[in-house]
């Protein structure tokens, strides 16, 4: 390892020496295996290889043993020879031992020891000293071309250039080429480089692809260096290692394993197989009956037994009856269909005998399909919700239990020539007033349908509204024709009544100037008073029309205050003066609202409190007449309110609208409707509460009217119960106008006192707008539908006259009603919250509008 560099130098310098002293290398190359090679070769590369090999060897072998092994193990004949030569050389050197130096004077005059060239002893280790070595280093020799020497040796002596022969010599040399001549000059020595015989032999061998070393046997006989035979003399003198005489732990571990296995019985001593079998047979088997004490139990509720295969039928027989055999067409059809779509997976086939029946080729497939069916088809027991839908519906009383209510038409009041626009029943319940397109007001006997009185108010304009003045002490009809309100006293042969009525009508003439005073008091320089109160003219006066009030625009609605002194009129087209409150006793007209949001539709007084309701198209405003402020604004949600009525109790309101809705408002609760009902296919024209019974009715353009039972309880926690009880049909619809107005019979006051019977007669009256082709056929049809009739509608049923389907109608109403009530439950839930949120806004609105109502009512 160490000698790489020196060896390089050496190689560069000494080639000849190698040849000359080739046994010197014996020491170095002690490797037996390479012995043959090393002896013959002194090539640079080879030596390198040797070095390497030597290194490797040094690595592998123990340092101690190296020398020994080398020296001891490889005693070849050649080496022994070499050794002998070496010793010889050493001996010769030792002979001329003397002073190795000469003393000279140097340039300075000092003494200088010039040593003799060291003649290394042959056996010296210093191989470098064998020949003069050029010490110029690694520079090109060309630097010395101009010098006679080519470098210096270790002692600083010039190494002289070897003499180059004369050109002739060179020629001669070239002619007589010595063996091994290459024509090259050895750069290290400057001599012609000739190859030795050995080198040539080596090259030849390499060229011949032979093993380069001569005499090398690539396949030597194996030398059994280590054999099982114990030599008398051991190869190694090393003491026995400790492990040789200590028990092995690893083995002990493995043995313990085996011991354990033996102990546990996992390793059994060998027994011949037959013996073992015999033993096993002898060993008695013990069986345990796990299910010995099991009692049969019913299967789990969720257990669903696998569906059984259907038993084979005739068509599965090997010899089916001919009717089961498929025809050609059927066969063809079966073959053409997809296997998945076939009804049967097989075709019935006929064989003469069972012996001739082939094996069932589909057997495996069929079993497989069956397994798939059982495994993949989920057998889940589905729990069906078995809820009676009726039990989810809210409990409403049956209509039959809510009697009395009107059920059938019973009287028709015929005589009007044209549409009837309005009806009203007088406070005593004996007379019916009606007004219509023929400009007449007629009074009919309620019970017999006989026209008792008639007056023609106008030949052009229809009578829009007819209303009786409340109170039984008078019989005054107010009727609106265009802008005029007429007050009339029908004559029934009762002069006292007529006289009191007359007095009441005439009383206001004492205040005739009031109209002017009002205008001045208002401060506004109005050109005309809100209304003119005059006598209607001699002709009408003779017929009983005693008073006329003319307002500015056509009146569509009249509603009286319960005391009979005030009444309000609404003329939707009247702009600022659309709502007017009149005082009959003073012939006074006031315009309470200067401005209204939207067109006023109708107005009404509260049945007991000093409240005033005004309906515009979309909302209903409630004003306190005493405090002169807005109390509440109801938002029914309808697009165009047609009419409304206040419950006699005063806390509820029902609104009908042209967009087919009927809305129930609880005044205490919210400004949103408590219930919205949409039962009519056409616009609702009028709604009316019965004054004493828990009934209300609406009438619609579809020619029907619906009767509702509405129970209002004083308990605040409970909302009103509204049950549709009856739909009355039969009115003809002409020009898309059905029933225009509705009024209930008033109740007799004794009912509250005596309460012997449930009630007196109540009659509800409705008017059809009938414009039939012939003029005189135009009639009012107003069936007074008595409660008594209703109570015994089963009688009708008994006689087979019930064909109109009254019960079914009732139930249909019922059903429809449920829907809306459900809706309403939701609506109610939300409206409570909205109500709270809305209160603040309401309060603000109240402040804002506090000054608005301009009611001068006492």
């Amino acid at each position: 390892m160490a000698p790489t560099k020196p060896s390089l130098k050496r190689k560069a310098s000494v080639v000849e020496a190698n040849h000359a002293d080739h046994p010197q290398s014996d020491d170095e190359f002690g490797d037996g295996l390479l012995e043959g090679v090393l002896e013959d070769e002194s090539d640079d590369e080879e030596s390198e290889v040797e070095d390497d090999d030597n290194d490797i060897e040094g690595d592998t072998l123990d340092a101690d043993d190296d020398d020994e092994l080398d020296s001891d193990d490889i005693p070849t004949d050649d080496e022994e020879l070499g050794k002998k030569q070496l010793t010889n050389g050493a001996e010769s050197d030792e002979e001329d031992v003397g002073p190795h130096y000469k003393i000279e004077t140097d340039a300075n005059g000092g003494t200088r020891y010039v040593y003799d060239e060291v003649d290394p002893v042959y056996d010296s280790d210093d191989t470098d000293a064998q020949e003069p070595v050029n010490t110029i280093g690694n520079i090109p020799l060309s630097f010395y071309d101009s010098y006679p020497h080519i470098g210096y040796d270790i002692n600083g002596k010039k190494i002289m250039r070897p003499a180059t022969g004369e050109a002739l010599d060179a020629l001669l040399d070239s002619i007589e080429v010595p063996k091994g001549w290459t024509g090259l000059t050895d750069p290290a020595t400057g001599k012609p480089l000739n190859l030795s015989q050995d080198e040539l032999e080596l090259l030849r061998r390499v060229q011949m692809n032979e093993v380069p070393e001569e005499g090398y046997d690539p396949y030597p006989d194996t030398v059994e260096w280590f054999t099982s035979f114990e030599e008398t003399m051991p190869l190694s003198a090393a003491p026995e290692p400790k492990r040789r005489f200590l028990p092995s732990k690893h083995e002990a571990k493995r043995i313990m394993k085996l011991v354990k296995a033996i102990r546990e019985g996992r390793i059994l001593p060998y027994k011949p197989p037959e013996e073992r079998q015999r033993e096993e047979e002898e060993e008695e088997e013990i069986h345990y009956d796990l299910w010995a004490d099991e009692t049969p139990r019913p299967p789990n509720v969720m257990h669903i037994p696998a569906p059984k295969l259907a038993p084979p039928g005739y068509d599965l027989s090997y010899n089916p009856p001919p009717e089961y055999l498929p025809t050609e067409d059927e066969k063809k059809a079966w073959e053409e269909t997809e296997p998945e779509e076939r009804e049967k997976e097989y075709l019935p086939q006929k064989y003469d005998s069972l012996r001739k029946t082939p094996a069932y080729d589909q057997f495996v497939k069929e079993r497989f399909e069956r397994c798939l069916d059982l495994y993949l088809a989920p057998r889940i027991r589905k729990n069906k919700l078995n809820i009676d839908p009726a039990s989810l519906l809210p409990k409403l009383p049956r209509p039959e239990e809510l009697r009395p209510f009107p059920t059938i038409a019973s009287i028709e009041y015929a005589g009007h020539e044209g549409r009837v626009r309005s009806v009203a029943i007088d406070p005593s319940g004996q007379w019916l007033a009606s007004g219509g397109d023929d400009g007449t007001v007629r009074v009919w006997g309620l019970a017999d349908g006989k026209q008792q009185w008639k007056v023609k108010l106008s030949s052009e304009d229809p009578v829009d509204v007819v209303r009786w003045r409340p109170g039984q002490e008078t019989s005054i009809i107010s009727a609106a024709v265009a802008e005029d309100i007429f007050f009339m006293i029908p004559s029934f042969g009762n002069p006292e009544l007529e006289q009191t009525s007359r007095d009441i009508l005439d009383a206001g003439f004492g205040y005739a100037t009031n109209g002017k005073q009002l205008t001045t008091a208002n401060g506004a320089a109005r050109k005309d008073p809100p209304a003119k109160w005059t006598r209607p003219g001699a002709r009408l006066e003779d017929e009983g029309v005693l008073l006329k009030a003319t307002v500015r625009s056509p009146i569509k609605s009249i509603n009286w205050h319960r005391r009979g002194d005030f009444f309000c009129t609404v003329s939707p087209s009247g702009q600022r003066s659309s709502v007017a409150i009149h005082t009959l006793s003073k012939h006074l007209t006031q315009i309470p609202f200067r401005k209204l949001p939207g067109l006023a539709q109708t107005a009404s007084f509260h049945p007991s409190r000093p409240l005033f309701f005004v309906a515009t198209q979309r909302s209903i405003r409630c004003y306190d007449l005493q405090k002169q402020e807005l109390v509440k604004t109801l938002q029914p949600g309808a697009r165009w309110i047609s009419s409304f009525d206040v419950h006699p109790g005063g806390d509820n309101l029902v609104v009908g609208s042209y967009d087919r809705r009927l809305l129930w408002h609880d005044l205490e609760m919210s400004n949103r409707p408590y219930k919205t009902m949409r039962f009519h296919p056409q616009a609702i024209r009028a709604v009316k509460f019965h004054r004493t019974h828990p009934l209300f009715a609406d009438c619609s353009d579809d020619g029907t009217l619906q009767i509702f039972h509405s129970k209002v309880v004083s308990d605040l926690m409970e909302g009103p119960t509204i049950v549709p009880v009856k739909m009355l049909k039969g009115h003809k619809v002409v020009n898309r106008l059905g029933v225009t107005d509705i009024d209930w019979h008033p109740q007799h006051p004794w009912c509250r006192v005596a309460s012997i019977a449930k009630k007196t007669k109540n009659t509800d009256i409705l008017v059809v707008c009938n414009t039939i082709q012939r003029n005189d056929d135009v009639s009012v049809a107003q069936p007074p539908l008595t409660t008594e009739v209703a109570a015994f509608s089963h009688v009708v049923e008994f006689y087979g006259l019930y064909k109109e389907g009254m019960p079914s109608q009732a139930s249909k109403d019922h059903a429809r009603f449920y829907g809306s009530q459900k809706d309403h439950a939701l609506l109610k839930g939300t409206s409570n919250g909205m109500n709270q949120a809305g209160t603040n806004r309401d309060a603000k609105e109240t402040d804002y509008r506090a000054s608005k109502p301009d009611a001068r009512m006492p």
Partner: protein, 495 residues
């Protein structure tokens, strides 16, 4: 057909032993012939033919018979009846045979100018004829009709108007007359919406082809229109029911009647703008008594047929009240469940006498009530079948178990109380009967077809008044401006 002879032939048919009885003396079967074996499937017609056969009654011309078992008519075959009633076919069935009914065929119509509100008859069998006694001239059968035009008309049998009352300007009623009654052959009482009860003297010419109605008395006192009127000839008392619930008792005697209340007299209100010049020749009187037992309009009032001091009044306040006229006190109150519009009294011979009140209601049926104070059940029976309000009632002149009713549905119905059945639960239980005959308005026969289902029942043909007399038959008047006369004899089986 002799059943005994036919017996072998009908061997397979079950035989039932029947026992025929009758109450009519002229139709008695010979002794020993009353028991027969008849096939079980025999019906009324077969039984009637058996009775008329030679071996039985041997009548010259066949008399149709009806048969009563246990007081009700046999409407099915005998077998079915036995089955329905759970009777054994072995038992002997007692069949009471009565003359069968003949439908009340139309006889005549008398046309009016306006709706007819009430009718009354005068004949020797009618009440007024009986009261008249000797004054009644035989053959002087008249019909009195009250009309909405305020006039009374008296018709003879040939449909001629014998007399018409004066118009309002001549002392007649100034408004519609709602009710009119013969007091006797020469006296008529009427009342109407003009709140007066008027007594007229009716006199006929000798040829009985013309006559006069002269007002003899004007009775004032009611403050509302009078709906109903009843008279009692022998005592000259008149009862009136007004729409304000008051009941008035009046006398026809000028001398005994109190003076009329001045405030109610025409012309009392000087300020009335329209003062009619009234040529009132008749004296004006007031009521003997005027009570207000009802809280709602009184719709009918009548004297007890046996006792003129007792009156019954029906009202729209659901009650029938028994009024003792001597004290003007309400003796008894019967409350029904519906407004009452009409009332009539049926005599009752059995059960201690008394009357049975039939009241027509606005609920389209007729309620029969027992007015006796101690009666256990006031509501006796309900007659169902009308399709509209029942406005007038009249008892049969022949017997105690039938009556005729007039209704707004344009029909008159004849009822036999014997044909009762138990009411279903829906009908409210009790005994229920259905009408025997229905009399349509003759004037509406042609217009029947144009009626649609949705129409009001009896549109244009409301019947307001009906009267039933033995000689006249059934007389009814109504909205069709007709007084219609139907045959009324032998309509119902006598017993």
């Amino acid at each position: 057909m002799d059943t005994e002879m036919g017996q072998p032939a009908l061997a397979e048919v079950q035989q039932i032993r029947v026992n025929f009885t009758t109450t009519s003396p002229d139709l008695q079967l010979p002794e020993g012939r009353t028991q027969l074996l008849v096939p079980a499937d025999i019906k009324r017609y077969g039984l009637s033919r058996v009775l008329n056969s030679e071996s039985m009654l041997n009548t010259s011309s066949p008399i149709p018979f009806d048969f009563l078992i246990n007081g009700s008519f046999l409407r099915t075959s005998l077998e079915d009846y036995l089955k329905a009633n759970g009777l054994s076919a072995e038992s002997t069935v007692t069949l009471q045979y009565v003359r069968s009914l003949i439908p009340p065929v139309f006889q005549a119509s008398f046309e009016h100018d306006d709706w007819v509100s009430g009718v009354d008859v005068l004949s020797d069998t009618a009440r007024a004829g009986v009261w008249s006694g000797d004054k009644f001239v035989t053959g002087q059968d008249r019909i009195l009709s009250a009309s909405y035009d305020g006039l009374l008309r008296i018709w003879n049998k040939s449909g001629n108007v014998i007399a018409t009352s004066a118009s309002s300007s001549l002392g007649g009623h100034s408004a519609s007359v709602k009710s009119a009654k013969f007091l006797s052959a020469s006296q008529v009482a009427s009342a109407g919406l003009d709140r007066t009860v008027r007594i007229w003297k009716y006199a006929e010419a000798d040829d009985h082809l013309s006559g006069t109605l002269k007002p003899t008395l004007e009775l004032y006192g009611h403050k509302a229109g009078i709906e109903s009127l009843d008279v009692h000839g022998p005592t000259g008392r008149v009862l009136s029911a007004a729409s304000d619930g008051t009941i008035g008792l009046w006398t026809t005697s000028k001398s005994s009647a109190p003076a009329a209340p001045a405030a109610l007299l025409p012309g009392a209100n000087a300020s009335a703008s329209k003062k009619r010049k009234i040529a009132s020749s008749a004296p004006q009187r007031g009521p003997l008594s005027l009570t207000q037992p009802h809280t709602s309009a009184a719709s009918a009032v009548l004297f007890d047929p046996a006792d003129a001091t007792i009156a019954y009044s029906a009202s729209q306040d659901h009650t029938i009240r028994t009024i003792d006229l001597t004290t003007s006190k309400v003796e008894n109150v019967i409350t029904t469940s519906h407004p009452l519009l009409s009332l009539c009294a049926l005599r009752r011979s059995g059960g201690g006498g008394g009357v049975l009140l039939a009241a027509g209601t606005s609920a389209r049926h007729i309620t029969l009530a027992d007015p006796r104070v101690g009666a256990a059940a006031t509501s006796v029976m309900t007659l169902r079948g009308h399709k509209n309000m029942v406005t007038s009632l009249c008892a049969s002149p022949d017997n105690e178990h039938s009556l005729v009713s007039a209704s707004h549905d344009g029909t008159c119905r004849i009822w036999d109380l014997r044909g009762a059945r138990a009411g279903t639960r829906a009908e409210g239980g009790g005994a229920v009967s259905e009408s025997v005959y229905v009399i349509e308005r003759e004037s509406q026969k042609g217009a029947q077809k144009s009626k649609s289902k949705s129409d009001v029942p009896g549109r244009g043909a409301k019947v307001f008044g009906v009267a039933w007399d033995r000689s006249w038959g059934i007389v009814s008047g109504g909205e069709d401006r007709m007084v219609q006369v139907n045959r009324g004899r032998d309509l119902l089986a006598a017993d």
